[in-house]
């Protein structure tokens, strides 16, 4: 047993999917040409006046409600002052003194089945900075498209006590935020970013150990690896009688280790003061109520609905709600009349396998809920077999309409006894040995004969009906 305890605190930034920026009318749109979505406010021109985006503030309220936090009733904005080329007005507007949400929690379910509440200290709405690209040739380039994009920063309490807990917290947090619809929360696209603080102290020590900050974690797995390395490094340092320095380290993926970036001297000095250009905000009970009622169904509510209404297993429901896209896709396919259980099986099996194989997100594929439901309904009503569906599935991943594809390729399941009976008798005539085996009590013969029928019909025969006719015809012989 270790004689140390670990204290981890996470700061997570999520980029909001509003149409316009936090304090200017410029569009928020990832991937547009550089500086296309900027105006005089984003460039920090003198004499301009910002205006606060109601959608951004309400997104912050939605995040606060999703994380079981209290909403601050009297909110003003603050300026955080620093100079950097991606921040032309030399301050960031944030909610340092009056964060929109405070004192919430996220409940994680641990491997051993127990639950733990990770405290949320506060959430603030603030604005993002622009993007610097470093040329390596003595200059840098600045694109201000992202400047002013609204963010919600979520600050956990330092009561995460292991790298595993940190991982579970991040997964649950991502899910909770994603199901509110306020953000895409994608680490790889930068719409979710994680800053880590970790310290280690001997069990029983009154004071926390010295906090080390880790940067450059681009995935949850990296966060876990970085924390695991750093936890061990700090323990080893303490065991060797060394002192942990207050420093910033970065995660190095190839070696799964953390590397010293810089030693911190003194606290950051941002000289916060209230933003004089933006009016204060008072949040009423009615406003909170209205925002609450606009919140979409949570992942947990969906899981309960899938289990109760569609008789899915807990595991199946959990897989379908891993992302909002998958859950919405499932609901649309089922709403369209496809069998809920079969739909779940396809999404969890074939669709997930396809996504893994192609490394695509569901919304970036050619699969549509209408096409998947079309295919599943063809199975539901016996038009095609599940075997034939394999081909249809490949076709709908290429964007083909399932019914048209089935007709075009003659993939109609053969279920007509008038057509099947002669084929089956032909097979029986050719396989006297199997008939004898069957009469002799060898049930396996049925399997062989069914296989022969499927082969003859190129897999198009309805196996259930083939089985029935086979039994009846065998009895006649």
């Amino acid at each position: 047993m270790s004689s140390f305890e670990t204290t981890i605190g996470l700061e997570v930034h999520v980029e909001l999917k509003t149409k316009s920026k936090a304090f200017s009318l410029s569009p928020v749109n990832f991937g547009d040409p550089a500086n296309e979505n900027t105006n005089v406010i984003d460039w920090g021109y003198p004499g301009v006046l910002p205006s606060a985006n109601k959608g951004a503030l309400e997104s912050g309220m939605m995040a606060a409600l999703a994380l079981n936090a209290q909403i601050t009733r009297d909110v003003h904005w603050d300026r955080k002052n620093y100079f950097y080329p991606d921040n032309p007005k030399s301050y960031q507007v944030t909610q340092q003194q009056t964060p929109i949400g405070h004192d919430g929690y996220v409940e994680i379910k641990k491997e051993d089945g127990t639950s733990k509440r990770i405290g949320i200290k506060e959430l603030h709405v603030e604005e993002d900075a622009g993007k610097n690209s470093h040329s390596g040739k003595g200059y840098s380039l600045v694109d201000l498209n992202r400047q002013g994009t609204p963010l919600v920063e979520i600050v956990s309490q330092p009561n995460i006590s292991s790298p595993d807990e940190a991982y579970l917290y991040l997964e649950k947090l991502r899910q909770l935020i994603q199901f509110t619809g306020i953000s895409d929360v994608k680490m790889q696209e930068g719409s979710m970013r994680v800053d880590i603080n970790i310290s280690v102290r001997p069990i029983g020590a009154e004071k926390y150990g010295t906090k080390v900050e880790i940067k450059n974690v681009n995935s949850f797995q990296y966060a876990k690896n970085a924390l695991a390395y750093e936890e061990q490094r700090q323990r080893d340092e303490l065991m060797a009688g060394h002192i942990i320095g207050q420093e910033t380290r970065r995660f190095d993926e190839p070696t799964k280790s953390t590397i010293l970036m810089r030693v911190k001297e003194g606290a950051d000095d941002y000289r916060y003061f209230p933003e004089p250009d933006l009016p204060v905000i008072h949040v009423s009970d009615e406003w909170i109520k209205a925002v609450k009622s606009s919140l979409p169904e949570t992942a947990d509510d969906r899981i309960a609905r899938y289990i109760n209404k569609f008789a899915l297993s807990k595991k199946e429901a959990a897989v379908l709600t891993q992302t909002l896209e998958m859950a919405n896709f499932y609901d649309q396919v089922v709403d369209d009349g496809a069998d809920p259980k079969r739909t779940a099986n396809y999404l969890i099996g074939d669709v997930n396998a396809y996504l893994n194989e192609t490394q695509l997100d569901l919304q970036d594929t050619k699969l549509t809920p209408g096409h998947l439901s079309g295919m599943i309904k063809l199975i539901d009503n016996g038009t095609i077999s599940t075997k034939q569906a394999k081909k249809v599935f490949t076709a709908i991943t290429d964007g083909e309409e399932p019914k048209a594809y089935v007709e075009k390729n003659g993939l109609v399941q053969l279920s007509d006894p008038n057509k099947l009976t002669p084929i089956i008798n032909q097979i029986l005539d050719d396989n006297q040995q199997s008939i004898d085996d069957f009469k002799g009590g060898k049930d396996r013969a049925i399997g062989y004969l069914t296989g022969q029928v499927m082969k003859k019909t190129h897999g198009n025969a309805n196996p259930k009906i083939v089985h029935e006719i086979l039994l009846a015809e065998l009895k006649k012989r």
Binding site: T18, W43, G55, A56, S135, S140, V142, L278
Partner: protein, 100 residues
Amino acid sequence: MSESLPREDAAHVAKLAKLHFNDQQLNLFTGQLANILDLVETLNEVDTDGVKPTYTVSDNINVLREDVAVKSNQKNELLANAPETQDGQIKVPAIIDEES
């Protein structure tokens, strides 16, 4: 109190503002800044017990705009005001950035 503004504090504020002073300038501005602080200090003579903090001088509350985007279409004019540009971006001296 602020009459004794330490020189290091003045140097720190200058550094945060990205200003570079020689010794003579630093002495001059430390004195001037101390005077300004003394003047502001007189505000502390006012009894503000029970007075709510003022965050903004405007009386407006909850003035928020709906989330509607409007393109400025001023990209070229804005870039024309930048000292240097390249590929539609603002060209700045290399950022010594350990995070890059």
